[in-house]
Amino acid sequence: MQEVGVELSLKRGRPSRAGIQRNWHRFGDAGARLLLDVQSGSLHSIDEAAWAVLEAMGAGADGGSRAGGGVELDGGQVQEVVRDLDTLIDQGVLSYPDERDADVGELGPGVLKAMCLHVAHDCDMRCGYCFAGTGGFGGARALMPAEVGMAALDLLFKASGHVGHLEVDFFGGEPLMNMDAVRRIVSHGQELERRSGKTLKFTLTTNVLGLTDEVGEFLNDNNIAVVLSLDGRAWVHDAVRRSADGGPTFARVAANALKFVNSRRGGEYYVRGTYTRRNLDFDKDVLFLADMGFETISFEPVVASPQSPYSIREQDLSQVFAAYDRLVQEMANRRRAGRGFRFFHFDLDVAHGPCLAKRLMGCGAGREYAAVTPEGRLYPCHQFVGRPGFDMGNVNDGITDTGIGAQFGEAHIYAKPACAQCWARFMCSGGCHANAHEMSGTLSEPYAVGCAITKKRLEAALALMAL
């Protein structure tokens, strides 16, 4: 037996502790021992010996480090692990930890290519956790005239330059409250597609309450992707998602959603739920939805101020993490049994993901993506609508305050100290700007609880690939 740490030098030398922490993410999840090569995105399964050697290697450059957990290895095993690591580095599926991140060059200015149209600043529900002020976003309730939405599309097609794939989401409030405008805007978008040769993808995000057969037929006929809000178990849903008159909505929403999904004929949809500190066992809600027959599901932590009774707090994280662990195990079981379903945040494909340039910049808010109010004002994203200091312009004149977009351009992952050193930087890409601004008052300091959840969710997704 020998002390781990004696022969921990790779062919290129012994990596620094900082390099290992930043670029080799070693973690255990759902019974799997894994190593993520952050710079390439490659994922490796490691055995107990490799875990111990990597742990010792990352413990410091002072030599003499023992593997944690009292694991002792003989010299032969240490040599084997070191040789494995060198082999993987030679094969290009593992990066030497002290390498610099690949250089993508100048990122250049943003190109507007996606819009979120707030076609209704009004809603027929009154959800307790609504970040949109139950529809009005802190202002007057209003519906977007079709002409405003059409002008927004004109701006999008013009401003998008060489980009051929454009996206528009109908959002609110509740967009089904303004279907006449939605129909006219879709028709106008289809005409712009024909004229320009570009592709415009529509999405509609709805609370499902008013999703009639007629509306469903329109969404299907026009190939509009749909996000259906449903929080899982009836008591969970009804505790927060109430109708305008205060009544429960689960029964109607669930029936409408199921009927609509069954009519989709392969059209894209997600059933999207929100979890709060009142259902930290939200894995049960995800599975409940899967058991109802939904095959594409997304579940997100609530966006709420720390004072809100719904917000996820640091002391809740262990329960949140346990829920993701249980979900991974059950999804793996169901996949093996031929009953798998898709969970949005676990849909990682490390071989065909977005390019490095995109990953540095994150969601594109304020640069490639803008939200449009019913009055035609432009904001960096749907969550910034109504926040003072973020009005970027209007649909007729375009983006007149370019300084706001520049602020977002400067909030890339290398400009945020917490992100620049984080192993998750290329998968999370700096997190949600709106959450950061809401919690810390700045774009440059990510929301810590959000970071913790994102990292756990990524580990869970990677573990599911390994199971």
Binding site: F171, E300, C363
Partner: protein, 50 residues
């Protein structure tokens, strides 16, 4: 790809991230919040359009 050559480490998935440093930036891919999230940015699960 490396199962025959390594003993203690097995590659599960090969990432392409470094290769995209020079080939990326076309902006044709999906905008992350235009999907099922709307509240949390995660780019790892987006697809490249190329």
């Amino acid at each position: 790809m490396n199962e025959k050559n390594t003993v203690h480490v097995r590659t599960i998935a090969v990432g392409n991230l470094k290769a995209t440093a020079s080939s990326g930036g076309c902006r044709e891919c999906q905008t992350s919040c235009q999907s099922a999230c709307k509240t949390s940015c995660t780019l790892g699960n987006q697809a490249c359009k190329k």
